[in-house]
Amino acid sequence: MDFIQTTIASFISLIPVTLAQSLILSFVVLGIMIPFRMLSFPDLTSEGAFPLGGCVCGVLLAAGASPLTAISVALIAGFAAGCCTAFIHLRFRIHTLLAGILMMTMLYSVNLRIMGKSNLSVFGSPTVFDWVPFVRPGFPASKIIAVGLIALVVFVLLNLYFKTERGTAVRAVGANPDMAEAQGINVWAATIGGVGLAGAFSALSGAVMVQSQGFADVNMGLGILINGLAALMIGEAIVGKQSVLRQIAAPFVGAIVYYQLVSLCLAAGMPPPDLKLATGLFVLAMLALPSLRRSRGAAPAREAFRE
């Protein structure tokens, strides 16, 4: 009884902090979802774009730039990283996953170069959270309000965009690139733009994270991808993915639920080093579920992703 009580007590006390963190990380989940679901382009760039955004933001903050400038430049850097991954895939016909691995490996060096050292403290620098009125800066409430607002705006804009003429064309590229091309859609432009956008979201997440935690670290992206995938799977299980609205809501809902679950596990005394194993097993289970449900026979046809 005691165990349950302390677990619940520490879990509840962590809810606001975890919520703030999960809202920040929901942009990475978005950056994973857009290529994966909208473009059928399984992309690993986020593992490099997330720390890229963090490093760029950290260096700029340390140099005295305004927090908004730092975030904007981080966005551009992330966009460029995503574009590079898409270009590597399209131009050299390298598998999307390999293109992503190449990009994130190269980005590690780039990130180190940008910062000049492996971590950088920006504690005390102004952040976007300072601008939230009525709450004391540095508290989870200000982060939840600031990031929640950005998330809401992004959610609404993306939902509108993917229903416009152009947005529909981008989704067609993911659904059937041959058909899209035959319907006059520039597959290159849509893919590069879409994966670039995803990179920008991952970088945004990294930049806001640095402002939230007060330091940048080249290793901050380690495992972010598998966390993001797990969050996406949870989100899709909860809200589904049948419509554009649901598909775009899934990353946000998933991130919020997933990080609360992680917090619950930690509160229950799960050793943090085991977390990645648990997350990995969870993602594996979610991905394996459809094939287990279908039959016990031969493995069903693989999902048709671009090669």
Binding site: A169, A175, M179
Partner: protein, 259 residues
């Protein structure tokens, strides 16, 4: 109008399995003309169609649509002028998107895509009306994802998508071959109706001799990457399936003698 001027394409050039797909192919199709292309496997039918649509780049030669050279344009640029129905019903539609969204994509084929909402009320009404012409009930399934439709329904949808917006050139790539006979007849009837109504310049590849006899203004027989025989006018109007197969036999004999 479509004009193919001495188109050449060789696959695996210089290798042991070198294959000449198009060997100086010339073809001219007047505006509003319906050409039916037949020929055995490997005669170059698909290569020709791919060269016209842009998914295959020629070694030499030119493709002209309405007098403009499109040889150097990529597929998505040529799509402004031409539409294509593929043999595989899966290929011509976006499976995970709805019927209405697919119609929208086709609707925008030759237009500039804007940031305005895609599926507006007026558009949906127009799509409903166009789909109702098929008589397959697709007009009531605008919000159904295309992957839930049957092969025949998907192919009919592809056809409606292709003929919408009256393209300068319509390419039909054995578009009834993957369907059961009854559905094939429905799709073929819809094709002929659309082509005649809109007076579309059409190039249809088929293996179905009956279709070659029944439809089109001209039969074009390909062999070894070039046009071997063209039948038009009265001769085309009076030709029968045995006649056509006879031509095939002659050609096959010649091929045997040549080899």
């Amino acid at each position: 109008m479509l004009e193919i001027r001495s188109a050449r394409k060789t696959f695996y050039r210089g290798q042991a399995d070198e294959k000449v797909a198009l060997n100086g192919l010339d073809l001219k199709l007047a505006t509003g003309e319906f050409g039916v292309v037949i020929g055995s496997n490997g005669a170059g039918k698909s290569s020709m169609l791919n060269a016209v649509s842009g998914s295959l780049s020629l070694d030499s030669g030119q493709i002209l649509v309405n007098g403009d050279d499109v040889s150097g344009l990529p597929v998505h640029k040529r799509a402004m002028r031409l539409a294509r129905v593929f043999q595989d019903p899966m290929k011509g539609t976006a499976a995970s998107m709805t019927v209405a969204e697919n119609m929208l994509l086709a609707d925008l084929r030759s237009k500039k895509r804007s940031l305005r909402p895609g599926l507006t009320g007026t558009r949906i009404a127009a799509y409903r009306e166009r789909l109702s012409l098929l008589g397959l009930g697709l007009e009531n399934r605008l919000d159904t994802r295309v992957e839930l439709l049957s092969g025949g329904q998907r192919q009919s949808l592809s056809l409606i998508m292709a003929v919408g917006g009256s393209p300068d050139l319509l390419l039909l790539d054995e578009h009834t071959a993957a369907l059961d006979p009854r559905t094939a007849d429905i799709v073929m009837a819809a094709t002929v109706r659309a082509v005649e109504q809109l007076k579309l310049t059409t190039l249809m590849v088929t293996h179905n001799m009956q279709h070659a006899v029944d439809f089109g203004h001209r039969v074009i027989m390909l062999d070894a990457g070039r046009v071997r025989l063209e039948i038009a006018g009265d001769e085309k109007a009076n030709i029968t399936v045995p006649d056509l197969i006879g031509h095939f036999a002659v050609k096959t004999d010649r091929m045997l003698l040549a080899s």
